[in-house]
């Protein structure tokens, strides 16, 4: 099968408008006869479910949590970008498009990204109309802030809980449709497989997580909005339940997987504290606006700190290495995420890490506290203020700006960041890769769509801050409601899809067999045991820096681990009950397959770009070295069987509107 991205012809700026003018429509009476299944109720899923129901389709929505409001979009802190130009600072659709393409290191599709930038403004309008309480100025207008290495202020926010507020907005729209009977909501249900009839996605098999019942659900189209796969690393900032299962099942049934190796490692997370660690917590990127990042310049100081004999405050100014300021004088502590993460790893690998694991660097607010304190003293005409007084006033300012984050840090680590420098380390945060989709968001399975983080489409090799929320809502509110008509227009006479067919029976049986296997397998090790080991392989060999030798080893190791898992995994309890261990087993089984594909993809991509850093491909100064002549393509992988090698398909990326340059932050 050759890939057809279905990008509309014509100039970039009018593609989407022209497309909408000519896309096929389904009339309201016919929409009533069409059923749509949506898996996942985060920003993409909830917004799609609400909007499609408003249009008149019958929607069935599924989430594994006890309420759609708990989807992991809720944890996004910083903000959402939109090209509103409310600040009159020269922002435009083109600039948002350009920044996103460049930020993604030229590995995203121009047409999709431009469409994203075009609909961004409508998202803000929609959310405000729903009653989302964005931050405002005294005049009552919406406030903006700048974010992640961009030169305009285009980020809308609601304190540090923007994701929560946007998700609750989408949830409220969803609730309205549930109350009107247009959406049927299935909480605590997990999608176990997609069902294809005559090559088209026509339903899913789901498990009721409370009773263990296996259910068949049919629909004319299946939308996967099931999020990203960062938990393949075991430790990530994702929620505990975030998983790849829905996307992976579709992949095994014929949906190609795009750029699986593109993962984002976020530089400012709270470091691992010990073997018991179950997940990692992100500290908003905004902390880098005022904090300075450093490690000791002398090896003996670093060792003393690791052994608890010295503390950060004991190291004199002259013996500190502010390595970001040293390496990137013009951007300093504000370099993009991928660059900041790699620089921290480089210092720690060289032996300068500062906690007992050696995997942490300092994020220091001491000079920001003094700076703000002096500004306060000036403002209050206190020319004779003592250092202690200045420090006290500075702390108050920092508390006002970052109090929430400092509290969270204190809560988790037990350290007081007002008095001693915080310790941070990069952690897996987001996955740019995902199911390959065409311009309509359709995967290579007819009638099966992927939305939000679950697809690969808009962020290339690196996502900019405040762009994930934008993409999830763009896909759900403003893209899929149009593009799905193109497909469903052919289904107005199909009638309800029966679940009594052989295809449904076969899929259900396979699901049952697998569940029974887990329950009856007499293994000796818990699911988490295998998940941790997989995570370690992925982090060491397919994490922040990768090389051919390590990746090849990782592939062999994962294959062996997978064998061991199927032989020795132990799942307590029964199938017919609430059984979280059984849920985990299914998810980890899929991660064990995905992990191998990620390594294959990383091994194939002989270049460094965005979050993908291959040690063999770097400049003399240690910066990422892209290879546009050979790798300006999307790697779309076709599944060929559990023990067979996948087939690589390439979608060449054509850049007609931007010039490819080396990203430089020196």
């Amino acid at each position: 099968m050759t890939l057809n991205s279905k990008i509309p012809a014509g100039p970039l700026a009018t593609k989407w408008t022209d497309y909408k003018d000519h896309v096929r429509l389904v009339n309201p009476a016919n929409k009533r006869n069409i059923d749509v299944i949506i898996v996942g109720t985060g920003l993409a899923g909830a917004s799609a479910a609400a909007t499609l129901a408003e249009l008149g389709y019958n929607v069935k929505a599924f989430c594994f949590q006890d309420s759609p409001r708990r989807a992991h979009s809720i944890a996004a802190q910083g903000g959402i970008n939109a090209a509103k130009n409310y600040k009159n600072d020269g922002d435009s659709v083109f600039r948002l498009f350009y920044d996103t393409i460049k930020g993604g290191d030229y590995r995203a599709r121009e047409a999709n990204v431009h469409r994203l930038a075009e609909v961004s403004a409508s998202i803000i309008d929609q959310c405000v109309a729903q009653g989302v309480p964005f931050a405002r100025e005294y005049g009552g207008l919406l406030d903006n802030r700048s974010f992640g290495g961009v030169q305009v202020q285009r980020t809308f926010y609601a304190a540090g809980q923007t994701g929560q507020q946007l998700l609750l907005g989408a949830y409220s729209a969803l609730n309205r449709q549930i109350s009107l009977g247009k959406v049927k909501m299935y909480n605590r249900h997990e999608m176990m497989d997609v069902v294809q009839v005559n090559g088209k996605a026509r339903g899913i098999i789901a498990r009721n997580l409370i009773t263990g019942e296996i259910e068949r659900h049919s629909g004319h189209a299946v939308l996967l909005a099931s999020g990203g796969y960062g938990n393949v690393f075991f430790l990530s900032t994702n929620a505990m339940g975030s998983n790849v299962t829905a996307a992976w099942k579709a992949h095994k049934k014929g949906a190609y997987f795009g750029n699986p190796c593109f993962t984002q490692i976020h530089p400012t997370c709270i470091p691992v504290s010990g073997d018991h660690q179950s997940k990692l917590t992100l500290m908003s990127e905004s902390l880098r606006n005022d904090g300075r990042i450093w490690v000791p310049a002398k090896m003996e100081d670093a060792e003393a700190i690791r052994q608890g004999q010295k503390r950060g405050n004991d190291i004199p100014e002259a013996d500190r290495d502010y390595y970001l300021e040293r390496r990137y004088p013009s951007f300093g502590n504000l370099v993009p995420r991928d660059v900041a993460s790699r620089a921290a790893k480089e210092r720690c690998d060289a032996g300068f890490g500062v906690n007992n694991t050696g995997q942490a660097v300092f994020l220091d607010y001491a000079s920001a506290i003094m700076r703000y304190g002096k500004i306060e003293a000036n403002r209050l005409n206190m020319s004779d203020a003592t250092d202690a007084k200045i420090r006290e006033m500075g702390k108050a300012v920092v508390k006002e700006k970052y109090g929430n984050l400092f509290d969270m840090y204190m809560q988790i680590t037990g350290d007081n960041p007002y008095e001693t420098p915080m310790k941070i380390y990069p952690a897996v945060h987001y996955t740019m890769g995902g199911l390959w989709v065409d311009y309509n968001l359709m995967t290579t399975i007819e009638g099966c769509y992927a939305l939000g983080e679950a697809n690969f489409s808009d962020h290339g090799a690196n996502r900019l801050g405040a762009s994930a929320l934008m993409q999830g809502l763009a896909d759900g509110y403003f893209v899929i409601p149009y593009t799905i008509g193109e497909y469903l227009a052919d289904d107005i006479r199909t009638g309800a899809i029966s679940t009594d067919s052989a295809e449904f029976a076969e899929a259900e049986n396979a699901v049952r067999e697998r569940l029974n296997f887990f329950i009856s397998n007499n293994g000796s090790k818990s699911v988490d045991h295998f998940h941790r080991r997989l995570g370690k392989i992925m982090w060491d060999k397919c994490g922040m820096a990768r090389n051919a030798e390590g990746l090849a080893q990782a592939i062999t190791e994962i294959q062996a681990l997978r064998k061991e898992f199927w032989k020795d995994v132990k799942v307590p309890g029964d199938q017919n009950e609430f059984n979280p261990e059984l849920e985990k087993a299914g998810r980890v089984a899929d991660f064990l397959e995905l992990g191998e594909l990620m390594c294959r993809d990383a091994l194939n991509r002989n270049e460094s770009c965005g979050g993908h850093f291959r040690e063999e491909y770097q400049t003399e100064e240690g910066e990422a070295l892209r290879d546009d002549a050979n790798f300006a393509y999307v790697a779309a992988w076709e599944f060929k069987g559990e023990d067979a090698e996948p087939t690589l398909h390439k979608e060449e990326l054509v850049f007609e509107n931007v010039k490819l340059t080396q990203r430089s932050y020196k």
Partner: protein
């Protein structure tokens, strides 16, 4: 450190439950409370028994999925902190820790420590929204909202729907939860057209779900991990009264 856990075990909503004791050995003070339960569960699995079921997801205090009554307090001993953010340094070596599910008629136990909070969803279905279809919105800055109102609406909207307010209340009242949502919309211009209809519908649904009446003891706000203030209940009462007077 070493602790003893007294944990509520209950097979499902139909069967009776009882407390069982488990040792929690070699617990690091840096572990979160749920990581401590993970460790205990791995031990239970190794011994061939069924692990303790509990709800959780984000483990960073925002999704509202975790619950747990710890030593008689919703989300444990600290103020303004969810169970998932609680760390073991808040406990001492040798302590006995009692862990129960949320107790309320409207929150039936699903298994062990996990309860069914879908009543909260149904209250939201009744009116927790502004009726605006996608695409029907005007430019965002055409709606002016005074900063103070926006900030207050935001504070109310930070409720995570965890249900601790109900669990902490001796009457199992959901007034803090409902008051938070009603306040958010009552404070914003977008909420005005459906203002009366919304509060009446949500309160009726709350009653139908079997939540108790409010007798102003304030335990809800004291235990709320997001520090939703009691003033949202006052506002809820005013809004309800106002709607009744207007007769909508």
């Amino acid at each position: 450190m070493n602790l003893t856990l007294k944990v509520w075990r209950q097979k499902n909503s139909k069967e009776k439950g009882q407390f069982e004791s488990y040792p929690a050995k070699d617990i690091s003070p840096d572990m979160s409370f749920l990581e401590m339960l993970d460790v205990v569960n791995e031990q239970i699995i190794e011994n061939g028994k069924e692990p303790i079921a509990f709800d959780h997801d984000c483990r960073e205090g925002i999704c509202g999925m975790c619950s747990l009554h710890i030593n008689g307090r919703a989300h444990g001993p600290l103020h303004g902190v969810t169970t998932c953010q609680l760390h073991m340094r808040s406990f001492s070596d040798g302590e006995e820790v009692t862990i129960e599910p949320w107790r309320a008629n409207a929150f039936p136990v699903v298994k062990d420590l996990a309860v069914d909070r879908s009543a909260f969803d149904r209250i939201q279905h009744a009116g927790g929204y502004v009726s605006v279809n996608t695409g029907a919105a005007r430019d965002a800055n055409e709606i002016l909202v005074p900063k103070q109102d926006a900030d207050e609406a935001f504070s109310a909207a930070t409720c995570i729907g965890c249900g601790a307010c109900v669990a902490a209340c001796k009457n199992s009242s959901a007034m803090l939860f409902v008051g938070a949502k009603v306040s958010q919309y009552a404070l914003l211009p977008q909420g005005q057209p459906e203002r009366e209809r919304r509060v009446v519908a949500m309160v009726n649904q709350m009653d139908a779900e079997g939540f108790g009446a409010c007798t102003n003891t304030g335990a809800c706000a004291a235990e709320c991990p997001k520090e939703i203030p009691l003033s949202v209940i006052a506002r809820l009462n005013r809004e309800f009264l106002r709607a009744s007077l207007i007769g909508k």
